[in-house]
Symmetry: C3
Subunit: 319 residues, 3 copies
Amino acid sequence: MNTNRTTTETIDQDRRQLLGTAAIGIAMAGAASFDPSPLLAAPAGDAVYQTLKVRKNSGVLFVDIAALPMNLLGPELVRDLVALIQRAEADDAIKVLVFKSADPDYFIPHVDVTRIPQYRQEAAKLTGEASIALLFRHLSASRLVTIAQIEGRVRGAGSEFVLAMDMRFATRETAIFAQPEAALGAPPGGGGMQHLARLMGRGRALEVMLGAEDFNAELAERYGWINRALPADSLDSFVRSLAHRIAAFPAAVLAQVKDRVNAIALAPVEDFRRDSDLFGEASRSPEAQSRFRAALQHGFQTRDAELNLARLLGDLSAQ
Amino acid sequence: MNTNRTTTETIDQDRRQLLGTAAIGIAMAGAASFDPSPLLAAPAGDAVYQTLKVRKNSGVLFVDIAALPMNLLGPELVRDLVALIQRAEADDAIKVLVFKSADPDYFIPHVDVTRIPQYRQEAAKLTGEASIALLFRHLSASRLVTIAQIEGRVRGAGSEFVLAMDMRFATRETAIFAQPEAALGAPPGGGGMQHLARLMGRGRALEVMLGAEDFNAELAERYGWINRALPADSLDSFVRSLAHRIAAFPAAVLAQVKDRVNAIALAPVEDFRRDSDLFGEASRSPEAQSRFRAALQHGFQTRDAELNLARLLGDLSAQ
Amino acid sequence: MNTNRTTTETIDQDRRQLLGTAAIGIAMAGAASFDPSPLLAAPAGDAVYQTLKVRKNSGVLFVDIAALPMNLLGPELVRDLVALIQRAEADDAIKVLVFKSADPDYFIPHVDVTRIPQYRQEAAKLTGEASIALLFRHLSASRLVTIAQIEGRVRGAGSEFVLAMDMRFATRETAIFAQPEAALGAPPGGGGMQHLARLMGRGRALEVMLGAEDFNAELAERYGWINRALPADSLDSFVRSLAHRIAAFPAAVLAQVKDRVNAIALAPVEDFRRDSDLFGEASRSPEAQSRFRAALQHGFQTRDAELNLARLLGDLSAQ
């Protein structure tokens, strides 16, 4: 397996492969046996990643997601996240991680549906289980304080990634949120059901996940999906200031507060595992495979078509 | 028992009966032994109901509540709801139920306090237990996706009915919400305590249920009582569009998402049963019977007086 | 121990003592053995307190907090709260307690960090345990309905006191909220972690408690910290009217609704106890003692400096 496949061309190969076959869902044996140990020698702030740009500044590690062409969550990004988390957790000088996107239109649009077994296998490098739900939950339970600074689209596993963060701030003008899995024939499997039901209550969580619609930042704030929607021109300084403020407080207390709040508001591992399994099973079903193929034929996983994914999915279902 | 008693006159007879006696609360033996099986032959979309008007359109069943004179939740309406639910659940072509009211002032104002044993007995036809709390919870747990489209007043069991729905959208201009039971000497018994404590948190739930005040749609949205308050002239098209969108997604996934969210955010059956019992006991107490009588003497259960029920109840208590 | 030490001068002595020694944290043996029984003879509405002004009016006891010079939660205030709660619970004529502040700038700013063992010991007079978390939880579980009418600053244990109330209403213009403990090296120990995680969800609760920032009333309302922010000129009449309305409803139903909501949304005693212990241990640690000293040197626990406590704590940590 080519571990450098990040170009549009390579992803298009995968899309063509899925369009031609329904049997990709269980090809897990072919996953890369990537060895991250050489990279671990470098401190988190100095490491070089394929899909992440990092900068360390007084206790805060700022991470830009830059997984060309549109920040799909695929094996490369998951591999880099695993390596980043391992290094940051091992570095006592780091207390806070800030995740943002190098792409103003896409924070993380969702997983690469053509490579589900591959990115799952990368997640197993950290947690021992082939599931991004458990990778994300690892971050929620980490001593590291995590902040999502959101521009552009966070949908599906992108939404679930930021839901696993400790705090979420988004640009009022450009951030867009969705949990569109139902439209494709699968339940959200990366922790979205666990987080959304707790953050926004039963009614709003069901609207979000059964309706598979796009939500703007203002509505996402009203629903509790994010902490706050802020004007684009103040978001960066707000997050930077908050991150440095927190990083100046004692690490032991930060971890203690996280532990106590997690004991109340973070779902147990087995619930994340169950959701992940349900997504895995559903995504291999004929119904989902057929919906994936139809979506890909209509531009799913391309920048232009996903600018308005909600409409694309609605049109597909109505056919 | 006359199963056609829906006129103002008949209800007034009940009110006069309650005004003259305190012994109606346990007259459950007199409840009708209505046999719904002949009606079950008709598909849900074609059936004729006494208090509901239904229209089926591509996977969505639109239900108008029309229980003259003011949509009180009494035995007729409960009987029809039971029959509707049974038919809809048996019809695989139906995925979504949309409930609205034929009466712009009253969605469901509350239960008919003069016929508590009777409507409870009707509920038992579906669940085996004489409790609307369990009837409503049945809907929450159903594979059917339910949407409340709210104009006018939802108070007491009316609020609890929409709280049992999967989503709630209301007109910003005209919808009014209350959980007024405490003013009448009983706790909310149809699931309101379970849903409100989870949706809006301890402080706001206690304000709503201990204060027994009316809330407009804007405040209900801020408190999480409803998903959203929308302008009256866009509510219908918004809900219709959302309902059809959902109905185009795979039924198995809709059920799966509901199950997983319910496992987190829907209270167990025994808590609904307990609340229902508490309401039943309290409603038969001398204190509640006396408050029911006083309220009825001041126009409770009439259209005009209930336009401002919050004030009526406040005046009563202050006497 | 001098039980009348409420002047600025005496508190300044305590501050000087803490500035000169790190060994005050475990001086619990010296706590006063105050006997409240003589005061219990007087009904709650007529009693005279050192730090509270009370007025009883048709079922409602209005309580003004007046603990000079700035309403710090110290042994005198806790002693008075214990006596007030005991009397009010013993007086069937009282159904509702309304707490407000005699000081427009400070409702309760936080505990007196120079007298932690002393105020904890006073709390034990009610609950048998030296913990204000358990004292506050006692109020939450009480049959008494409690309402916080908030002007000025509620931070730390002040925030936790109002979170223990059944409802919270604040002036839109002047109320300020914070849970600043992490900046001082300790987790919130008076129930803040339990309440905030449930009221506002994981992300916002972590932002509040890890960021230790000030929040205005409008944002506190959006986050669910309070029921509502109201204009200063209408707050008093709103709360008074609501309190009297509730006091006219049957006591048994008020208690029943509280019990059922508490069963859902109030954390168990052991979780409050655990948080209280964590705060107690952390507050005696060298890290926290050092941060307390530095804060006191910069004006902590003085009126002027705490007008902008968030900045003071940020400056301290950045040094």
